[in-house]
Symmetry: C2
Subunit: 308 residues, 2 copies
């Protein structure tokens, strides 16, 4: 099977695609942006044995590599539209490819995203990059830099589940719910769009709540006080670990793909369908202070950092 | 050096960038498309020891991975605007990174392209993907599918040089000019833009002239007759190999990143600055016939195909 056949067979879908003049099969895709919109462009890579276990289910990998990019679009308040794929694989295995493509298209279809181009190559390891272009009304993108002293800090969903799920899996004690939060993260795309024009700043939690919040604070030139008693912990996480371990996962576990955002209280959108928790307050200065009922808690584990 | 520092140090440039509302440093880039334009999106990956020698100069790699994507934009008649980078590297080596970034930015700057985002990861091999978004006047993109019987078939520059250069290098008999055609390919961006609205079809020559021309013919539902005596061969290639070997490189060597395009004769743009050669004619049917002064020549080497 050559690359042309491979792409036709596994990656081309006949669905009517929004704003796609020419999709897969030419030197490039031709796309028609909506008037009055700005574009949002994101790219993220997953590398075997660094970002996922080598024996990952191919459908989970396909789903996950799209979801992590959707999450970046969500953090900007954008609507995801078109994606391109760069897939380096160890061999051209039809079963693996079919499953990978199924997971990829499933995550894309959940948010009406079209695969419009890609490149498949062979290498010694699986390396998958997905690039997504989205759009947002002109001037409405949510940046990391807009948080102001007095804003409330919120986080969506629950945090710490993905990292805990992966660690339990490695330890041979898998928890189905927690594992699913790693392999099939829920990008908060619709909620992110509802934040555009209402949140003062946002970031998605890929490297851990504390580390990613620090990036937001740094960009905004502010500090924060966090109440650790308010961290949103799932029942599954709470029932598997004691409080200190729960907190460690919640603060620096990473891979959650929830949104951390800041807003003036009265700007908080209706959140009836998604758990959204106020965890602290933006303050002047550059300190990030963690408290609980017993006082200040010190953490210097700032989350996942590459190349340390 | 963590990823944040790495990106700030090597990849963020202070240049004023066209149409970039928010560049590197947020969850995604915010970009402002021009009214009346469609977008063109391309992505291409280079894998160590598959697409380039392991000991490649980092600046050449950075240059080349941009150029191969610029070439795809050129083949669509587009103007390249914004690029994202997915770089998987074996270690965080400052000298290597600095050189890689220099080559990358040089190729981008030649066509006023801004690096607006990226992801750096660590793996066992170097895998580099670049995605470029360009634009083109609405409806003016050149597809592979527009060639019609009677059109003349053209190719820019000379063909076969890059593959010959690489083979001479591997054989320990490097030719400086031919090697440079592999390591620093010249994407025909300005010429590609001048073809928009004038060429009936175009493709860039990445996999070899014959193989890529076949893709164009297949998309257009036509055949072609090529005159091998008209193949544009550089002096360097001509002086290094006999005629049959020159032809083999020219027809199926790959990595040339020249444009092959079709046009009605009178539609050919002014080509005073770039060598453009008529090599044949589009015919009805689906055959690709190669001739020279002695009659029909049979070739079944259709160029580089992945996973065979």
């Amino acid at each position: 099977m050559d690359e042309f056949e491979l792409i036709q067979r596994f990656f081309v879908r006949a669905d009517e695609a929004r704003g796609v003049t020419t999709g897969i099969g030419d030197d490039g895709a031709v796309l028609k942006p909506d008037p009055g919109c700005e574009l949002i462009s994101v790219i993220d890579t997953l590398v075997a044995s660094v970002h996922f276990p080598n024996d990952i289910n191919a459908a989970d990998l396909g789903y996950r590599v799209v979801a992590v990019n959707l999450s970046d679009i969500a953090a900007m308040g954008g609507r995801p539209r078109w994606m391109t794929l760069a897939l380096t694989m160890t061999e051209s295995n039809e079963k693996w490819l079919s499953e990978f493509a199924e997971g990829l298209h499933r995550a894309a279809a959940e948010h009406d995203v079209s695969l419009v181009g890609g490149d498949t190559t062979q290498g010694d390891d699986i390396v998958v990059s997905v690039q997504i272009t989205g759009d947002v009304a002109e001037g409405a993108a949510i940046l990391r830099s807009g948080a102001a002293a007095g804003d409330t800090i919120f986080v969506t969903g629950t945090v710490g589940d993905a990292a805990a799920g992966l660690e339990l899996l490695s330890a041979g004690k898998p928890d189905e719910y927690l594992s699913s939060r790693f392999f099939r993260p829920t990008a908060r795309v619709d909620f992110g769009q509802s934040l555009a024009g209402r949140a003062s700043a946002a970031i998605d939690i890929s490297d851990g709540l504390l580390g990613d919040l620090k990036k937001l604070l740094y960009s905004s030139g502010v500090g924060a006080e966090i109440n650790l008693d308010n961290l949103p912990i799932s029942d599954a996480l709470a029932s598997s670990f004691d409080r200190d371990v729960q907190r460690r996962y919640a603060l620096s576990g990473g891979d959650d793909y929830e949104l951390c955002f800041t807003a003036a209280d009265d700007a908080l959108p209706d959140v009836s369908e998604l758990r959204v928790t106020a965890i602290g307050t933006v303050i002047q200065g550059d300190r990030l202070v963690c408290r609980d009922a017993n006082g200040i808690v010190e953490y210097d584990d700032s989350g996942y950092r590459h190349f340390q």
